[in-house]
């Protein structure tokens, strides 16, 4: 069936070799050195010198990597050493009891663990949709010229010191929650039992909101990066199938970036868990587990920050260090998960060239 067509390829009759010397035009100057590179810079075969430099560099890099591990190890060791008093007395009950009584020297960290987890999850619930929306807007919708400015503004949020957020929380957010937020939520969602209690303003919800604002930049900027890293070909594949703008975002952009976005969220979670100053200022610092989000609470970090300077007894100090150990373990695990998620996408990423 196929047409057998011979291509009438006309070849130049002159042999290929005959043309090259004349095209160079250097036939007469053949005795001059052709190279412009001074002899000293010419690449030689590997010498001992080279191997030595390689070896030194290698050692140096290994030492750098090791020093990080040593530092982490030292911190963990110190935390364990300083908290042995409390560990010996309370054992695993430290993690599961709710009494925190410095006077009676009876310590259980459960309310702080609960507060840390709830305030961080609250922050995620508020920050994730906002961050993803912002990242999508920056990468897909806003004009190119605005991209840089908007990204800069978002990153600026990350540069504001934690204590400033705390002040803002005390003087703006808490009064607002007290006079507007709680009455509103209690009226319409009071049946959930999440918004009851006296109107302090400060409490778990205030902490969650402040944390959400604080982790917004990191989630936004990392998800923006992974969305931008989705190759143009993926978008074109979706477009060519007749996808609308939103469908392109869904099946080409978000789907391909989902592991990275997940990593970004976990990284934000890690930050929320460890955040100290602002939370200490707005959470109310009471070691109780309450159903209401307007009740004061405590987090692991705020407990240490709040009580460390006043702790006089050895047992109290030791218990606070153990709180630190728990916090250290939680953040380490969360960050390890985040790093793994990010690694697992960048590794399998298709080439990013734009054809």
């Amino acid at each position: 069936m196929r047409a057998q067509i011979k291509l009438p390829v006309k070849q130049d009759s002159a042999p290929a070799g005959a043309e090259s010397p004349s095209s160079n035009g250097t036939g007469a100057a053949a005795d001059k050195p052709l190279s412009l590179v001074p002899a000293a810079f010419k690449i030689k075969f590997q010498t001992k010198n080279n191997a030595f430099a390689d070896g030194t560099f290698r050692t140096l890099v290994i030492l750098c990597a090791l020093s990080v591990m040593v530092i982490v190890g030292l911190i963990a060791f110190e935390l364990v050493r300083q908290s042995h008093l409390s560990m010996a007395k309370f054992g695993f009950k430290f993690l599961s009891t709710s009494i925190w009584d410095p006077v009676a020297e009876n310590f259980g960290a459960l309310p702080a663990i609960y507060g840390t987890l709830v305030s961080s999850l609250l922050a995620l619930v508020l920050a994730v949709p906002l961050s993803l929306g912002t990242a999508l807007f920056i990468t897909e919708i806003c004009p190119r010229r605005l991209r840089g400015i908007l990204s800069l503004l978002v990153e600026l949020l990350a540069a504001i010191p934690s204590v400033i957020y705390g002040l803002w929380g005390i003087f703006f957010l808490a009064p607002l929650l007290r006079t507007e937020g709680q009455p509103f939520l209690a009226r319409y969602f009071g049946w959930t039992g999440l918004f009851e209690g006296p109107k302090y303003g400060i409490g778990m919800l205030a902490a969650g909101i402040i944390l959400a604002i604080m982790i917004l930049p990191i989630i936004t900027s990392i998800s923006r990066e992974v969305m931008l890293a989705v190759p143009r070909q993926q978008r074109e594949a979706a477009l060519a199938l007749g996808a609308t703008r939103w469908e392109v975002l869904r099946i080409a952009v978000l789907r391909n970036a989902r592991a990275g976005i997940f990593g970004a969220i976990i990284l934000g979670l890690g930050r929320a868990i460890g955040e100290t100053m602002a939370v200490t200022m707005v959470i109310g610092n009471r070691p109780e587990i309450a159903r209401s989000l307007f009740a004061p609470g405590y987090t692991l970090a705020s407990m240490i920050a709040n009580e460390f300077s006043e702790a006089t007894s050895d047992m109290h100090l030791s218990a606070l260090v153990e709180v630190g150990l728990v916090l250290f373990a939680i953040t380490l695990i969360v960050n390890a998960i985040a790093q793994f998620m990010i690694w697992s996408i960048t590794r399998g990423m298709p080439a990013r060239n734009i054809a």
């Binding site: 069936m1 196929r2 047409a3 074109e236 477009l239 060519a240 199938l241 007749g242």
Partner: protein, 253 residues
Amino acid sequence: MDPGIRVQELNAWFGGTQALHDIGLEIPSRQVTAIIGPSGCGKSTFVRCLNRMHETLPNATVKGKVTISGLDIYGKGVSPVTVRRRIGMVFQKPNPFPTMSIYDNVAAGLKLNGFSNRRQLDEVVQRSLEGAALWDEVKDIMKKKSGASLSGGQQQRLCIARALAIEPEIMLMDEPASALDPISTSKIEDLIFQLKQQFTIVIVTHNMQQAARVADLTGFFLMGKLIELDKTEKMFTNPSDKRTEDYITGRFG
């Protein structure tokens, strides 16, 4: 006979630079039309104007008329999305969705159209994979393995299957085999030969032997202009234009 493609006074720009100048031609239905020309001459831009993909690039604009089944796809009120749903496109670099299984890749276009009947979907996926000569190779793994786990040639056939699944009338292929090894290339060429029973195919290639092997008609582009379009046999043995002859005899490009 319908749908062929009629192109009239088609111009395309990237910002201020014009990539296509007053292209006018007719592409007959159920035949393979090859577009050849040196790189940068506007071949990709041309086929991307046939399904309104060109305008999705930043600053890219189009002017002119492209008529398919009596409809000017650049006419007022025509939605580019519906145009693209009727026209399949295969790109130079295989671009399956890596986070979807092979099955979901093929079903992606139908799912966009709101098609969700499981049994019918199974049927369409099988028929599309068979149509793309990939069924036998993937039928046991298609629900478990990702589209990206296949070899380059298989990925390209998967992309063809994905385009076939929406039952387009026209199939645009932009150098579909240029990133593939010779064996995969010849599989793709065989496939094109079979597909032209049902589809109007436009294939861009910079490989003239490939054009000679698969195309009924060949159009030669140079610097954003259509130099000539004629029966492939005539183009390669006795072209009307001197520039075509220079190109196919290897004087430039």
